[in-house]
Symmetry: C2
Amino acid sequence: MSSKRLMIPGPTPVPPAVARAMSTEMFNHRGPRFAELIADVTASLKRIFQTEGRLYILTSSGTGAMEAAVVNFLSPGDRIVSLVNGAFGDRFASIAAAYGGKVERLESPWGEPLDYGALEARLREDKDLSIRAITVVHNESSTGMLNDLEAISRIRGNHPAMLLVDTVSSMGAVDVPVDRLGLDVCFTASQKALFLPPGLSFISVGERAWRAAAESRMPRYYFDLRLAEALLQKGQTPFTPALAQFVALREALQLYFAEGRENCYARHRRMAAAVRAAARAMGLELLVKEERYASPTVTAIMTPSQAPGNQIQAMMRERFGIEIAGGQGSLEGKTFRVGHLGAVDELDILAAVGALEACLQSLGLPVERGAALRAAQEALHQ
Amino acid sequence: MSSKRLMIPGPTPVPPAVARAMSTEMFNHRGPRFAELIADVTASLKRIFQTEGRLYILTSSGTGAMEAAVVNFLSPGDRIVSLVNGAFGDRFASIAAAYGGKVERLESPWGEPLDYGALEARLREDKDLSIRAITVVHNESSTGMLNDLEAISRIRGNHPAMLLVDTVSSMGAVDVPVDRLGLDVCFTASQKALFLPPGLSFISVGERAWRAAAESRMPRYYFDLRLAEALLQKGQTPFTPALAQFVALREALQLYFAEGRENCYARHRRMAAAVRAAARAMGLELLVKEERYASPTVTAIMTPSQAPGNQIQAMMRERFGIEIAGGQGSLEGKTFRVGHLGAVDELDILAAVGALEACLQSLGLPVERGAALRAAQEALHQ
């Protein structure tokens, strides 16, 4: 059976109307039709980001936007504090270092909360305000950890360091009020909560960061947001945009706002709660222990000793056509991850839980039939 | 009437089967289905590039591949000769300079041939072989100039400078035997001869360039081909790829090879000849004078004094739904450009010529009805 239920933390399933929009005929990306389109979708994306600042659409994956978040606002030699407790926090630090940033990593073990106290202490001792930026990943899809942006924003306080924030697997699914939290730069990608195929990324820039862009000396061209700004004034992008994703984006945004932001956040919280309740009911251990740090969009579950490696992932695919993710990086073989992000609903979660129950039983785990489904159902309807 | 005939030098019209493939369901980009897909399309692309070397698929526009062609193989301070006779040659030089290259521009006026003699002289006087690379745009879509890669390859001879070649608007439509010509790095994009929507680019790397990549000190991450190589071994890309374009790419390649490379080259030559013959029959001046330099994929025509600015472009769009391109950069308002690239055929050219005749008559030019069509028809069937 080919995979028909995609439950990885991106790409996420594409609704039929959005998929159909991808079949658009081509048109001139330097003509009036595109100008109208980019103005419309940019305005809608700002509502999701909850920002009155600038927002640009890039033809790249989320990592391209991550690179843009580094190279536009900093210079070689700049001191950067990188908060790292997963694969994407690590990637953010690596990009900053690749472009000559003097990166200080504040690391926590993968699956454990960031060391908020260490950040606070580091900023307090930075008497000459030499720290130029803090990089943080809001939702670590490698671990299912939701890092606390409210806390980081509060700790940053009046320190002039810019907050550069990866919300690739949270924006749209989790409330991220960019302006209220003072997130200077914030980015996401199309194939996550906004249920488009991959190929576009979105990046917001606040006033302070925009001023920094004028002085940044990191080399850049494809991701140079000064070029993006100059062309956006004319209703264009500097380089040929992924037109099909642009057309599908308008469709996706209409679906998104038809559900509504608050409803969407609540749905993701319910789906996460159901997966966590089901895992516990099957006697499985969750990687992220504390509820307040549990990601609403992806849950990492420790691989039980009875099914080492990727056995569960393979059985879910082959027997039920459900595609879940394995462990990432240092967690490969040690966890598996269930994505509950984008255009999936509570009934998809019940289906996945039912399949997981059956797989674990086949693998000889002491799993009571229906117990995980009942736990999930209770969590969904609390 | 909305534009229904897209005749710009990219994006080009997408055939129905390719458009339908864009509506693909999503799947795991780190699973077996993607591994099979990327191996298949990479092998087919190598046939188009006529290379036994390495080839990578990037999620970006062609300019992203241009950046990759610079940052992977060079170091800050490297001496680079940039051949410039149009907007894209200029862009190539700008990227090399942005990343710290010591760029020497060998410029010719836009629409005129490159100064091959100057390149030959510059290489001859480079006794200590300090020139590390030569950048060149094969087909300048800003002017409709086909630069002579055979000549450049011959002039480079045994000089160790790498040839970095933009074939964005030629590869697939024009014969570019990458290995025979010794093109060390060569790239194109999806929305041109391969009639896909924009969003992917393709870059080939020869052995010498690959060795240079190990020593390159230009900063890079998203476009780092060492990461692409490491992941391609596992049937993956380092970052989430534009999956829909990947699925559509297989469809497009099947259509491409069903016509056959040689037939495709011949079709583009015929279409270009027809447009040029029609322009002359209407008394219009061509930007590129010499036939041997005339681009098979796009033709720039001087704006007649009776219809200054973008009048012809606007009339073609509003009256006939044909989208042609205006002049680019320093040629804005001075030329208009007819694209004949990708999934367009000889009958599309007749339609465009018929529309252009009618527009010019309306604008009061002394154009004999049917003369341009007859000239085009004769050129097509020579």
